[in-house]
C-alpha cells in the first residue's frame, strides 16, 4: 500500500463569476521515504493539490468535487474535521512558501515548536515539549539558546529553518513543502535544500516538493510530476523526466532554461500564456500553445499513456504507443 495515493482529484473554486477548475483529475502515488517534485507554472494548481491533501482548501469557494486522497489507506477527502486535525501536523506537515509570514510574530519560536509537539503528543508535559523544541532547533542548526526569541529576530533563512523544525517536530510521514526556497536567496536556498534533504533521509519522511524551479527538483527529488492547468501532463522518475522528456510542455520548460554547456543568445520560451482556469480550452489544455498540436488535440482530452514503466505522458502524440 502506498503512503499517499491520489485518485482522479478534481478541485473547483466555485465563485459568482464562474467555476475555476483548479485541479482536473490528477493521479499521484507516493511511497514511504520518496520525494516527489510537483512542477508547474504559477496557477497550475500545485498549491491547490497540496492544500487538498491537507484538506485546507478554503471552503467556500473551494471544493473537492471528485476523487479520493488515500493516506495510508484512509480516504482523507471524506474524513471528519477532528480526525483531520489529528493528522495535520502529526502525520502530514506542511512548509509554507514564505518564512517571513509563516511564523506568528508574537510567539517566541521555541513556543511555536513546542505547541505542535504538545498538540499531538497526549499527556506530554510542557517541560518535555520545550525540551523537544530545543532538540529540534539544534537539529536544524539553530542554537537552542535562541528559542526564547521572536521570529523578527531571525533572518529569512533561519526562519525557514524554524518552519522546518516545526514541520518535522512530530516526525510526520509526509511533508509537503510548498516552494520552500522561493523566498530565499540562492546561497540560503542551497543550505535549506541540503538541510531538508538530510533530514528527509534521517527521518525517512516522504516529501512532496512543490516548485517551479527544475534545478531544485534535480537536486532533491526521486520522482517528478509536471502540472499544467490543473492536470499532470507528464510524470515519472527523475531520470525519465530529465533525460527522456516526452511531453511538448515539459520540453518547452527545459528549453526555456539556460544550458551551461551550450552558448546560446536567446532562450526559447513557450509561446503564449497559460489558459484561464475558469475557461479552459476544449481538448488538451496545452493545445493552443503546443507546436505539435493537431486537430484531435483541440477536440479531445488526451488519455494517460504509459510510454515506459512508471513514465506517464498525457498527450495525443503518443496515442499509439509510438514515438512522435
Amino acid at each position: 500500500m502506498s503512503l499517499l495515493d491520489i485518485k482522479n482529484l478534481h478541485v473547483h473554486y466555485i465563485t459568482d463569476d464562474g467555476t475555476v477548475k483548479a485541479v482536473n483529475g490528477i493521479d499521484l502515488t507516493l511511497e514511504e521515504g520518496e520525494t516527489l517534485g510537483l512542477v508547474g507554472e504559477t496557477g497550475a494548481g500545485k498549491t491547490t493539490t497540496a492544500l487538498s491533501i491537507m484538506r485546507l482548501i478554503p471552503d467556500p469557494p473551494g471544493k473537492i468535487v471528485d476523487g479520493q486522497i488515500f493516506f495510508k489507506g484512509q480516504d482523507l477527502s471524506t474524513l471528519g474535521t477532528i480526525a483531520m486535525r489529528k493528522i495535520r501536523g502529526d502525520q502530514i506537515a506542511m512548509i509554507f512558501q514564505d518564512p517571513m509570514t509563516a511564523l506568528n510574530p508574537v510567539i517566541p519560536v521555541g513556543d511555536q515548536i513546542a505547541e505542535v509537539v504538545k498538540l499531538h503528543t497526549d499527556g506530554i508535559s510542557m517541560a518535555d515539549a520545550v525540551k523537544r523544541a530545543a532538540d529540534m532547533l539544534e537539529i536544524v542548526g539553530i542554537d537552542s539558546g535562541r528559542m526564547g526569541e521572536y521570529p523578527h529576530q531571525f533572518s529569512g533563512g533561519m526562519k525557514q529553518r524554524v518552519v522546518i523544525a516545526i514541520a518535522l517536530a512530530c516526525n510526520p510521514e509526509l511533508l509537503i513543502a510548498d516552494e520552500p526556497t522561493t523566498a530565499l536567496d540562492v546561497t540560503i536556498q542551497a543550505q535549506v535544500l541540503e538541510l531538508m534533504n538530510g533530514l528527509k533521509q534521517k527521518f525517512n519522511t516522504a516529501m512532496i516538493m512543490i516548485t517551479h524551479d527544475l534545478g531544485v527538483v534535480a537536486e532533491i527529488c526521486d520522482k517528478v510530476a509536471i502540472m499544467y492547468a490543473g492536470s499532470i501532463v507528464e510524470s515519472g522518475s527523475l531520470r525519465q523526466i530529465f533525460k527522456d522528456t516526452r511531453h511538448p510542455y515539459t520540453k518547452g520548460l527545459f528549453a526555456s532554461i539556460p544550458d551551461l554547456n551550450h552558448k546560446i543568445h536567446r532562450l526559447t520560451p513557450i509561446d503564449g500564456l497559460m489558459p484561464d482556469p475558469a475557461n479552459l480550452p476544449e481538448g488538451c489544455a496545452f493545445s493552443p500553445r503546443c507546436p505539435h498540436a493537431t486537430d484531435i488535440c483541440h477536440k479531445e482530452a488526451p488519455e494517460k499513456i504509459e510510454v515506459e514503466p512508471g513514465h506517464i505522458v498525457c498527450c495525443h502524440l503518443f496515442r499509439k504507443g509510438g514515438e512522435e
Partner: protein, 296 residues
C-alpha cells in the same frame, strides 16, 4: 556548553515570560508622556482605594454654615453649596469614575470583542448577521443609547455601567473584526491550522494576540470615553444619584453657580480632564511598547 544548554531548556519558559514583560516595561519607560500618564493614573487609583485615609472630611456631611468657601488651607478645593468639602468628594468620585470606566469597558470589550472575532473568523452569514445587528445599535448615538438604557433600566451605578458598556459593544466588535480579518489571512494562521490546531486555539492563541495592539489602545481610550459618558449621564441626572459624589453630577451642580463660585466647577472638570488625558497617554505608550515589531 552542555550544561548551558540544559539550563536554557529547563528554565526557558519562566525566563522568557519575565523577560518579555521586562522588555515591554523597558520600552514603556522610554516613553515619557506614557510614564507620566501612568503615574497619574496610579496616583488617582491609590487615592480612590485609600479615600478615607487621604481625605479629612466625610463626603456626604453637610455643613450649612460653611457653604461656598473658596479654596483655602482648610478646604484646599473649597466647599460646595451644602458645605461639603470638594476635594473629599473628588477623591471619592474617582472611585465611581474608575469603576464605571473599567467595568463598562470590560463588558464592551468581552462581548464586543468576541462578537467581532466570531464574525470575522466565520465570515459569510454569521458575519452579516452579527455586524448588521450591531450596525443597528451603532446607528443610535452612543450617549443617546446610554441615556435611553439608563432611563429604562433605572438610574444607579450598576445600570450606568451596563448602559455605557453596552453602547461600546459595536465599536469593539468593529475594531476586533477588522484586525481579525487582516490577521486571519496571514500565513501563520494557515500554518497553525495545518499543524492541527483547533478553531478555538487558532482564534485565542494565534489571532487574538496579534490583534491586541489596536484593542489595547482602544480600551484605554474607551476607559476615558466611558468616564466621560458616565459623567455626562450623571450630569443630566440619569447616572449615579446624590449624595454619592460623581464628577459629572458635581459639574452639574456647579454649573448653577458658575458665575459666582468658579471652584465648584473647575475642580471636577480638571479631575475628568487629567484622568482622561493620562489614560490616553498611557494607552498610546502601551501600544508602542507591546508591538514586538518595534523592538530594538
Amino acid at each position: 556548553m552542555a550544561n548551558n544548554k540544559n539550563n536554557g531548556q529547563t528554565s526557558a519558559p519562566t525566563v522568557k515570560k519575565r523577560s518579555q514583560l521586562q522588555e515591554m516595561w523597558r520600552r514603556l519607560k522610554k516613553n515619557k508622556p506614557a510614564v507620566v500618564g501612568m503615574c497619574i493614573i496610579i496616583a488617582i487609583a491609590l487615592m480612590a482605594i485609600f479615600a478615607p485615609y487621604v481625605t479629612p472630611y466625610d463626603y456626604a456631611k453637610q455643613d450649612l454654615k460653611a457653604t461656598f468657601i473658596k479654596p483655602c488651607a482648610e478646604h484646599i478645593m473649597g466647599t460646595d453649596n451644602f458645605g461639603r468639602d470638594i476635594y473629599t468628594r473628588i477623591v471619592y468620585g474617582a472611585r465611581i469614575s474608575l469603576a464605571i470606566g473599567l467595568v463598562s469597558v470590560t463588558i464592551g470589550c468581552l462581548v464586543g470583542g468576541s462578537l467581532g472575532a466570531i464574525a470575522a473568523y466565520y465570515g459569510g452569514k454569521v458575519d452579516n448577521g452579527i455586524m448588521r445587528t450591531l450596525d443597528v445599535i451603532n446607528s443610535i448615538p452612543s450617549l443617546l443609547l446610554a441615556i435611553s438604557l439608563s432611563a429604562s433600566l433605572g438610574t444607579g451605578l450598576g445600570n450606568a455601567m451596563m448602559a455605557v458598556g453596552f453602547s461600546s459593544i459595536p465599536t469593539y466588535a468593529r475594531i476586533v473584526r477588522a484586525s481579525v480579518m487582516s490577521v486571519k489571512g496571514e500565513e501563520y494562521v494557515e500554518a497553525a491550522i495545518s499543524l492541527g490546531a483547533s478553531t478555538k486555539r487558532v482564534i485565542l492563541r494565534h489571532i487574538i494576540p496579534n490583534c491586541l495592539a489596536p484593542l489595547i489602545v482602544q480600551t484605554s481610550m474607551r476607559v476615558a470615553g466611558a468616564i466621560i459618558t458616565a459623567a455626562s449621564l450623571s450630569f443630566i441626572g440619569l447616572g449615579v444619584q446624590p449624595p454619592t459624589p460623581e464628577w459629572g453630577s458635581m459639574l452639574s451642580t456647579g454649573r448653577q453657580y458658575i458665575r459666582t463660585h468658579w471652584h465648584m466647577i473647575i475642580f471636577p472638570g480638571l479631575a475628568i480632564m487629567v484622568t482622561v488625558t493620562s489614560l490616553n497617554l498611557f494607552g498610546d505608550g502601551v501600544r508602542d511598547a507591546l508591538d514586538p515589531r518595534l523592538k530594538q
